[in-house]
């Protein structure tokens, strides 16, 4: 009967009920759309990072803390032994899709033709493995990773550079990169940079390099100079196969991705060292379990290595998601406040209109709590309708927005993605929003309802 009365009163005050439910619905809609966006970021950014770095990474103990200062002291001594150890474990076989070494390096890169040079930040990767990693779409969000652009052969002498790097080296035109213009002075040799000057000297004095003959592929030639772990300057000559934008400008301006064996020859002089081992899993849900298992294997084997989740290595995801979660929280709080005021107002109005009814019900022998339940039921129903409205509108509008193909570039990406709001794809979230709407609808009604239930009976009955 309580629900019947509540429902019929809502129908009776149709306009007010619709307005209140709409306020709840629109508030919920905003939360759902924003949440759908945050959800898509959660999946999208993680997918990008898993495509790029794998779910787990193995480093020499201490690398994350101290490796930046002297990376040569924190390399994995024998990456192939570690990979062999992990691959030999049957329990892990099902979980691991790709396991591949990586060498991080830095040095000076110079355009062999123009003499243009600048510092570079490099990654030596097994292109075939990394290209396989970039196809990962374990959450089925349809976000394709861009291929590395490196040849599959790990010993190939082709590299890929960042777009900014290409611009500064003056190879945009040679590579025919769209939206890339060579720096105005890229053609003229520059001597201002002391490192560049040093490089020029080195190139001039390096007998081995001098012996390298110009190859006839027509691709821009690049000299990469770095110090080996022994501190000896070393230099290789490669060809720039492509330029690819990188997400972070500072990296884009210095980025060189080179085949694993080239990087190895440049900095490790052929020794079996690597900076990191990247491990990609079939399912991200298994990351913690696999990490524990791998850590156990490494420790048991006496290897001075640690396994990390990619979020431990690179805080980007945590920061991006944290930022959006914060925005979501603030927006939700504001929305909740608006909804609370609306409902408070509606319930107060309803109570005032029905004071005499309250007096009558109390006179008939109902306790205060019953009056409370009567009005709370009404508010709960309003919340329910509002939540249903929010879900319906949220699903409809998110479909429309998704179909519209709006593009945006998440902070972790170099290339734009199509905005895909994930509303129903995150049912726990969608239902939580709906439930939250009902809860605040009831909570906002508590105070006016409490006052209603404590009205003086005689005075209520005297009201006209």
């Amino acid at each position: 009967m309580i629900w019947k009365i509540a429902f019929r009163n809502l129908v009776k005050n149709g306009r007010r009920s619709v307005t209140t439910a709409l306020a709840i619905g629109v508030g919920g809609l905003a939360a759902l759309l924003l949440g759908g966006f945050v959800t898509s970021i959660w999946y999208g950014v993680q997918t990008s990072m898993i495509q790029d770095q794998g779910n787990l990474q193995i480093y020499r103990n201490g690398y994350l803390e101290f490796g930046a200062a002297n990376p040569e002291d924190y390399t994995i001594p024998d990456w192939s032994a570690a990979i062999a150890l992990i691959k030999a474990d049957e329990a892990l076989a099902r979980d691991i899709t790709v396991i591949t070494p990586r060498i991080d390096l830095a040095g000076i890169a110079g355009n062999a033709a123009t003499g243009n040079s600048k510092t570079f930040i490099g990654q030596g990767v097994v292109a075939a493995d990394l290209d396989r990693m970039r196809q990962w779409d374990g959450w089925g969000i349809g976000q394709p990773g861009t291929p590395t652009g490196l040849p599959a052969d790990p010993a190939a002498d082709k590299v890929v550079v960042g777009l900014g790097m290409a611009r500064m080296l003056g190879v945009c035109e040679a590579l025919a990169v769209p939206d890339c213009k060579d720096a105005p002075d890229a053609g003229a040799g520059r001597e201002a940079d002391p490192a560049a000057a040093e490089y020029t000297d080195l190139v001039a004095g390096d007998a081995e390099l001098a012996g390298l003959t110009e190859q006839g592929t027509g691709l821009p030639q690049l000299n990469l100079m770095a110090a080996t772990t022994e501190g000896v300057p070393n230099i290789i000559r490669v060809e720039i196969a492509a330029a690819r934008a990188q997400a972070v400008r500072a990296l884009d301006n210095a980025f060189v991705m080179l085949p694993f064996d080239q990087a190895r020859a440049l900095v490790f002089d052929g020794s079996p060292e690597a900076t990191a081992i990247m491990i990609q899993l079939t399912s991200p849900d298994r990351a913690e379990a696999v990490k524990t298992r791998i850590q156990g294997l490494l420790t048991d084997a006496g290897m001075d290595l640690s396994a990390y989740h990619f979020t431990e290595v690179d805080p980007t995801f945590t920061r991006i998601f944290g930022m959006f979660a914060f925005i979501f929280a603030v927006v939700s709080a504001v929305l909740a406040l608006v909804i609370v005021f609306t409902i408070f107002n509606t319930v107060s109005m309803t109570v005032v209109e029905r004071v005499k009814e309250i007096g009558t019900i109390r006179a008939m022998g109902f306790r205060r709590g019953f009056v409370g339940r009567l009005f709370l039921a009404e508010s709960a129903l309003t919340g329910l309708f509002g939540a249903a409205l929010a879900l319906a509108m949220g699903i409809g509008l998110s479909r429309m927005i998704n179909a519209a193909g709006v593009q945006w570039t998440p902070p972790s990406n170099a290339t734009p993605l199509t905005v895909q709001l994930m509303v129903l794809e995150n049912p726990v979230f969608a239902l939580s929003v709906a439930l939250f709407l009902i809860v605040i609808a009831v909570a906002a009604a508590i105070w006016p309802t409490f006052r209603a239930s404590r009205l003086n009976i005689v005075e209520s009955l005297q009201r006209g």
């Binding site: 009967m1 009365i5 007096g359 009558t360 008939m364 022998g365 109902f366 306790r367 019953f370 005689v458």
Partner: protein
């Protein structure tokens, strides 16, 4: 009235035939003061007396004399400032809000001047409503409500809403609602003030008939003395005191 809806607590009442005047209410030096803008208004100045069971008692007096105040105290929706009240032998002067509500739900039915039906409920649902407070099956509630609506002559329009019927009919519904819980006492505050004189007489007659048929006690408060049937017990209040 069929067997099914026969009022259940006839036996409970069990009024001994040799008791000359079993009392529904006894009240002793009842006073009531209201504080309006820091000014004390004395609505009742000490009323003592009793109301007999199994009759229709009228409370009369001019407007503002304190009739409603007294009836509210009698119906346990208000408390006297001082004095003592017992209903059916039970001292009810100092009941808590919840205990008073429980007592009302079991023992007291209310009829109001402006009917006070719940507009969103059908006539039958209105009569069922106070039964929600009682341990009854939904089915029994429905049947009970139907029976009392039948008794007040509205069996044919149970599914209508209060807004769709006349004032006299509404007050009949209110009578059925007050009867439905089978209370020992029904209090009616100016039940005819919003009705024309013919309907007023009909309602008073209905109340008297129901009082007899269901063997309850009715107290009607009215300033229209012409409505009071001869030989009825009457309590007259003037300026907060018994006349």
């Amino acid at each position: 009235m069929n067997q099914h809806t026969e009022p259940a607590n006839f036996e409970d009442r069990n009024i001994p035939l040799d008791a000359p005047h079993p009392l529904a209410a006894q009240f002793e030096a009842i006073t009531k003061e209201y504080t309006l803008d820091k000014v004390k208004v004395r609505a009742l100045g000490g009323i003592s007396g009793a109301i007999v069971q199994g009759a229709t008692t009228f409370i009369t007096g001019p407007s503002g004399s304190g009739k409603s105040t007294f009836l509210n105290i009698l119906g346990l929706v208000d408390r006297p400032t001082s004095g003592a009240l017992s209903l059916f032998g039970e001292d009810v002067t100092r009941l808590s809000d919840a205990a008073a509500a429980d007592f009302r739900s079991r023992n007291i039915g209310f009829i109001f001047q402006s009917f006070n039906l719940i507009p969103v409920l059908s006539l039958r649902e209105n009569v069922e409503f106070p039964l929600l407070r009682h341990r009854m099956s939904a089915r029994a509630r429905r049947d009970r409500a139907a029976a009392y609506l039948e008794a007040v002559g509205l069996g044919g329009m149970m599914d209508r809403r209060p807004g769709e019927i006349s004032g006299g009919q509404r007050q009949r519904v209110a009578v059925a609602r007050a009867l439905a819980t089978e209370p020992r006492l029904i209090v009616a505050d100016e039940p005819t003030a919003n009705l024309d004189s013919r309907t007023s007489r009909e309602i008073v007659a209905l109340l008297a008939r129901m009082q007899a048929e269901f063997d309850t006690t009715v107290v009607i408060c009215t300033h229209e003395t012409q409505l009071i049937p001869p030989q009825s017990p009457v309590i007259e209040i003037i300026d907060g005191r018994l006349a």
